[in-house]
Symmetry: C2
């Protein structure tokens, strides 16, 4: 079985590659490294079953040999990234999705689209089942991501309906874990990095707002269950929410991170910015029924793994700077120092 | 002043061309004739200020000379058309819009996007102001049009924000008038053609459902006011609803058409289909304030013009069939008879 993963050097894509390799699959990871990182795949480069293609999926892709499945995970995915790369984000959702659908059609491969809870926008229904149509502002700054993903779903369904490409769609809710970027602006990575550096943890508002986060290994397990699901009915072609419905407050998260890192950091409360992340919580009945899936990693365990990862990252980073007088990221990206 | 109109051989695009020519502009009408028709522009072909390019705007466009404004009106626009051409509809909204935005950027031209009330989907708010985010199913069959237009708005705003292209967006509500296609499946053309042919007028449901329709000349006037609007504020870059807020019931419309055509047709009531057109009614306060615009053509007058048009069309069609033994449309489209 040979699987192509776009965004294969990204946070979720690289975990998918690891899991598929462990299951005995060959993996072609495609990434233009706009937000993906070499470091996420370095451990697989010597594996003969792993192949890395540095390429932009917005350009039609030539892949020789058989491909049984295509997982489309390429896209800037955190607000910091997609607001910095608005056009690239629109393109990878429209052009990129269709290029990979065409490849799937040519190869007779399954196609799985990484969609997002952002298709629900600022939801007026809470929690959100897959049947909810969403509340997305088509002309706001975030539309470059939200509307690109809604378009990606529409074109995926069109390839299913018109050409019977065997498509699947997951709507991914907030996810955290090993290989998140320290600078992606998300609350979990922000808190952990702040705590490890001994800086104050910045909570916006009073911290009573809730979040739900799924650990990345749970997410990956759900994605692969949907990918390999067989059957005659059409149900597997319709979107499936994947996320953790368990809610905690931002204040609880901050306190837990301080406690688990053994940090002396303070928690400080700042005014709520205008574009505060939207409150979203998945209904996962469909994943439970269709995939017999639910998250199993506790927040405690997930945080332990993520804290260990960032601790290691920060230590490696410091030793690089000591040794080379420049950061590892800038060294790897080939920028002049 | 030289203006490029994509979809320039379409229902609305061809009226825009006429009006701009009358205002002294030069017009480049681009159309791939997928749903547009030669017949709509035939009267302009001898005008030295009019140029027709048979081209698909999904392929990057080479246009020599100056262009001061680009009006993007290319797209299948009635459910019958976009359900028949789902991929073309997605492409012209994504690729087509961006190709023309790029052209606008290169030429330093204004860009006006023909968006649609379909971005409001099956609205939960009634009537719809521009601030309403809509209720669109991203995975339904109609998503190929609705999501393509939402994407088109998002990429248009991105070109305004990123590159300061001077963009405008109109959200067009139901429009009727001269040059509608007899076979586009819309209620006004259906009723008129049925009445003129002496067939029964088919009302779905009990006919109590309301519609609001804007006559095409009113729409065109509003579009051109927005196109030529100058100013320093950002307001003109945000979407403007254009449509007629005046509602009438489908039953009223049917009876009026029978009366005005002098037809002996009966009105028959059939069960409501599942995908009955959604109830939409524009809030046009923004167009009133920003453009000092409101519809002025009465339903009476609009129907009179449209009935006269279809009467002539049907007569011409019959004489063609008598003369050539084939329909004019098939003769013009170059199909073998």
């Amino acid at each position: 079985m040979r699987v192509l993963i776009s965004g294969g050097a990204g946070f979720v894509g690289s975990h998918l590659a690891d899991r598929l390799l462990a299951q005995g699959c060959a993996v072609v990871a495609v990434d233009n490294l706009l937000t993906g990182r070499q470091a996420n795949i370095r451990h697989n480069l010597s594996n003969p079953k792993f192949q890395f293609m540095e390429a932009d999926v917005c350009v039609p892709l030539q892949v020789s040999g058989e491909v049984q499945a295509i997982l489309h995970f390429a896209s800037p995915a955190s607000p910091i990234d997609y607001l910095k790369h608005p056009l690239e984000t629109l393109h990878v959702g429209s052009l990129g999705t269709e290029n990979l659908l065409r490849l799937a059609r040519r190869k007779g491969a399954r196609f799985l689209l990484a969609s997002t809870s952002e298709v629900y926008g600022d939801p007026l229904e809470h929690p959100q089942p897959e049947s909810y149509f969403g509340n997305v502002n088509p002309i706001g700054p975030r539309a470059v991501y939200d509307e690109a993903k809604r378009y990606a779903e529409a074109v995926t369904m069109a390839y299913y309906r018109e050409f019977r490409v065997d498509t699947r769609i997951v709507r991914i809710f907030n996810t955290y874990g090993v290989r998140m970027r320290a600078d992606d602006g998300r609350v979990v990575s922000n808190f952990i990095v702040q705590a490890l550096k001994g800086e104050s943890l910045t909570v916006y508002g009073e911290g009573g707002q809730t979040r739900s986060f799924c650990y990345v290994s749970d997410l990956v397990a759900g994605i692969l269950r949907l990918l390999w699901l067989d059957g005659d009915d059409n149900d597997r072609h319709l979107p499936v929410n994947l996320g953790n419905p368990l809610e905690f407050t931002v204040k609880q998260l901050a306190e837990r991170v301080v406690e688990m890192t053994g940090s002396r950091s303070q928690v400080v409360y700042l005014p709520l910015p205008e574009d505060d992340p939207k409150l979203r919580q998945p209904v996962i009945e469909r994943a439970r029924t269709l995939l017999d899936w639910q998250p199993v990693v506790t927040l405690e365990e997930g945080l332990r793994l993520t804290i260990a990862y960032f601790k290691n990252e920060l230590e490696e980073e410091s030793s690089y700077i000591v040794a080379f007088g420049e950061s590892r990221e800038s060294r790897e990206s080939g920028e002049c120092s």
